[in-house]
Symmetry: C2
Subunit: 152 residues, 2 copies
DNA sequence: TATTGTTATACTCTATAACTATA
DNA sequence: TATAGTTATAGAGTATAACAATA
């Protein structure tokens, strides 16, 4: 097994148990750093998270959105009300079952979310440019594995 | 530049901009997954985070701890009071300047923190065992780069 | 009668401002 | 007079329980 240059810290992660520990700390720290690059802080993390879920699903009932965000329905009512007042989401009654409330992103909401994403990507891009090609290659190969772990 | 097996998703991240985007999503998701493996939820994330900071620094003044945790002093007073009631930390007056309050982990606090860490590592270890040797090697090489990004 | 979402109420956590003690 | 920490008070945000509308 050969190591590329700059592996002094990685060699400490020789055993699998050590790899788990090192990887966990690195991922948590980087996540924290990325989170701090939030847009303007006028929106809470929960509000942004709910919008992110909506971005992937089109129309979702308020209850399903609450479940997806691991929040109780009354809390989601409040979150959606706030986002609706800002024009970032829209409530619409379900035509088939009028007890249901469908929520979806407005164009303004989608744009704000995209701007947020671009901003975080911009920071990460700047950092990536400072790395060596080998280091970037290491990240490229690991990205798909990290995704796999996150889904499991 | 050669690619190892199982790179179908990674090839999507050909350009650096795409790498940033893919990496950000993967890291945030995995961090969220790791966070959900918290011990018993009797402690909040802020309390655990404060304890983690203490673990690395021995004795710290309450003000420095508040600054490190990006929290105001009154909030840290409350957090420390709560942790002290549980026997996880101890307040001690600074012998030199009696205005200062030094905080440090008790043995029980250190043990609880370690148990927490072990639990998260255990989950990640189980997942790592399911990966191929190539995938683990990719993570091993990337871990040090992720750490570097997190510190920047 | 069951289900979806909302309103009412209480609790937790945080912050700012005022206060106490030490320097 | 300045500084470290605590106490007092108010403002978000969340949850459970009670309620209204619809099925």
């Amino acid at each position: 097994m050969t190591y590329a240059k700059g592996m002094t810290a990685a060699t400490k992660a020789r055993s699998q148990a050590e790899l788990a520990s090192v990887l966990r700390v690195a991922v948590m720290r980087l996540a924290r750093r990325l989170r701090s690059e939030r847009e303007d802080d006028s929106l809470t993390l929960n509000q942004l998270s709910a919008m992110g879920t909506l971005a992937g699903h089109g129309q979702v009932t308020l209850g399903d959105l609450a479940a997806a965000e691991m929040v109780q329905p009354p809390s989601m009512t409040r979150i959606v009300t706030n986002l609706e007042e800002r024009g970032l989401v829209i409530r619409e009654p379900d035509p088939g079952d009028r007890r249901l409330v469908l929520v979806r992103l407005t164009d303004a909401g989608a744009e704000l979310l995209a701007a947020n994403r671009r901003r975080r990507d911009a920071w990460l891009n700047r950092q990536l440019r400072e790395l060596t090609p080998d280091e970037r290659e290491a990240l490229r190969r690991a990205a798909v594995v990290l995704e796999k772990l996150a889904r499991s």
